[in-house]
């Protein structure tokens, strides 16, 4: 998580390696229009400590799943203006498929698992929290065994 500007170019430079032939990067930017309304700026509030852990977890999953060389991801918090980068991801890999798949995996997982909330401010002076994605309830399989004998 970052409270200062981020860029995919910085992350891409960091993941590049002499053994990796492919670098894929993604930037999610603040759009001037969202769901038909004119956005002036937006504010991200995050559960920072958990968000950092979730980003590390998602990155580790992608590394493991696609055999990527290296993956780097940053998400902004705080106030962002139109065009500012909200999320940046870069992945390097020996071959392109792993790099593409890794970046795509990370952004899709962020959308459903990262504890962060966006409040949009509109040109008409109003603002609202975005209708978000209901986060996952941990599946029963994750429940520690000892709880079954409890209570």
């Amino acid at each position: 998580m970052s409270s200062v500007p981020i860029s995919a170019a910085d992350l891409a430079a960091a993941v590049a390696d002499r053994t990796d032939g492919a670098v894929v990067s993604f930037e999610g930017r603040v759009r001037v229009q969202n769901q038909g309304r004119s956005v002036r700026r937006l504010h991200y509030e995050a559960y920072d400590a958990m968000a950092d852990e979730v980003l590390r977890e998602i990155t580790a999953e992608a590394m493991d799943r696609f055999s990527a060389g290296e993956i780097s991801v940053k998400h902004r918090s705080g106030t962002l203006e139109i065009g500012d980068v909200a999320v940046a991801i870069a992945a390097s890999a020996p071959h392109r498929a792993a790099a593409f798949d890794s970046v795509r995996y990370v952004i899709e997982a962020i959308k459903v698992r990262l504890p962060i909330w966006k409040r949009e401010e509109y040109d008409d002076g109003t603002s609202c929290w975005l209708d978000g994605v209901e986060p996952p309830r941990a599946p029963a399989a994750y429940a520690p065994r000892e709880q079954k004998s409890d209570a």
Binding site: A86, L114, W129, P135, A138, Q147
Partner: protein, 85 residues
Amino acid sequence: MTLAENTIRVRLFGYYRELAGKGEIQFDLPTGVRVDDLVAVIRSDPSFAELPSTPAVAVNRRYAPGNQVLSSNDEIALIPPMSGG
């Protein structure tokens, strides 16, 4: 649950923080209380009457199942629908 009580603190964010008017709420609840029990208690507050049927709860920064037992040492957070990316 046993009758002994412990203090459960719950961090709030975004829309939920605004519903409560503060970033943390707390309850004295019996030892052995579970995530689902805590959610029922929160929902009994009129401010949270419109909570989703099974809102996400993080315990020690991980999404927790409804049957996870809570203790006063846990870092607990009620997680609104997210809008990252």
